[in-house]
Symmetry: C2
Subunit: 214 residues, 2 copies
DNA sequence: CGCCTTGTTATGCAAGTGTATAAATACTGG
DNA sequence: CCAGTATTTATACACTTGCATAACAAGGCG
């Protein structure tokens, strides 16, 4: 006869709840774009009620921002983690970074959907714009550092201008291939994009990044 | 003492009104993302009242779709038009295409904002997805055709696989540089990106695309 | 001029939005 | 085992959204 039994719930740790909410937000955005990320949809997915969101975030905007930061951080982290389990020879490191950026899980339709959705509003929303810029420059700097190592090792007196040009081009080719893979992954072989990526970088630098097991 | 004078208006031609509404929609999307493209905001910008939209489009969704098609068409048209006013030497044509894709008005924050906003929903909206795919493949095929001409002229027995790899890489570098330019145009010199683009393509192909005025 | 078509405005509505607030319950320390 | 706290639910509210409909007037035709 309980007319409207109040919902049972568990108290989760603060960090856990925040993370769950962010994850739910990402799911919603990936599936239906930013328009699909309503507080109610997010809460439903996170298994809580809408009001709880405002208990952990000052407003929905802040949740979106945190979610975006998570996406960017996760992607660069993925690419960087490819560096840690590899020999410290600069060329190998660069090759590993490029390859890791061009195969799953970095190349992934969901990730792209998230990226595109957020970046679409990064132009008009100052907070999202700042989050984007930070993440983007992080990736860009990583590329530049790796290229610098390679050029230094190659001995050539690599002027700053030369380094800059190479970094811009290599960064561009990674981005471009990443987009191609995410948007039309079915048009490429499993390792085709990473192969094109690494060998293109080799050509651009005029160096071999991986020894041939000749 | 007219309590609430009814607004004066003019009857415009059907095609003119449709185009005005589409243009207003693009302005709204570019400025505030898809979220900013409400029927009222669009109507305000178009200088009409909201109800009129439904007189020309079955629903808001149809208006958005028409607007997206307009964007895609306009961009490919811009890139192709760079080919028509140039000599027919294949290398020059490829160079012109690459360069045109990497300077304004193709490189433009507004265009990028539109592209990103729409593509963010191209994943979940079937109609927008199809429209995008068509436009994207159109660009991609254009690149491949140009590269094919260049390779053919260079004489080398360019196998299909070789052509494919080159097209993928060159397309990627154009896309990547385009994004870099749109997102952070202020970080690059006026012609820096197009310079990097053309010379990178030259390196990738192992050919000079432009004669030096030595 | 006066009517008639239809492009256009004005108004209204139900659904959905983010947010504010109060009530309730799960856990913690005693 | 009991009180206190703060996480969580529930409800309400003001506002916006897309859409429907009715009133209106602009321009063409007799």
């Amino acid at each position: 006869m309980a007319v409207a039994a109040r919902r049972k719930f568990r108290r989760e740790g603060e960090e856990r709840r925040r993370q769950d909410l962010i994850e739910a937000t990402l799911d919603c955005v990936a599936e239906n774009g930013l328009a699909g990320a309503t507080v109610r949809a997010i809460a439903l997915r996170a298994g809580v009620t809408a009001g709880l969101i405002r208990h952990y975030f000052p407003g929905k905007e802040d949740l979106l921002q945190a979610a975006y930061a998570t996406v960017m951080g996760r992607m660069t982290e993925l690419a960087k983690s490819a560096l840690e389990n590899v020999e410290r020879a600069p060329r190998r490191r660069l090759a590993a970074f490029v390859e890791a950026s061009l195969v799953p899980p970095v190349v992934d339709a969901r990730s792209f959907s998230l990226w595109a959705s957020f970046i679409g509003r990064a132009g008009s929303d100052a907070a999202l714009g700042a989050a984007h810029r930070a993440g983007y420059l992080g990736f860009r700097d990583e590329v530049e550092a790796l290229v610098a190592e390679v050029l230094a090792e190659a001995g050539g007196r690599a002027g700053g201008a030369e380094l800059r040009r190479h970094a811009i081009a290599i960064n561009a080719i990674i981005d471009g291939l990443w987009i191609e893979g995410c948007l039309a992954g079915d048009m490429f072989g499993a390792s085709e994009l990473s192969e094109v990526g690494v060998s293109s970088v080799e050509t651009l630098l005029g160096l071999k990044l991986r020894e041939k097991a000749a």
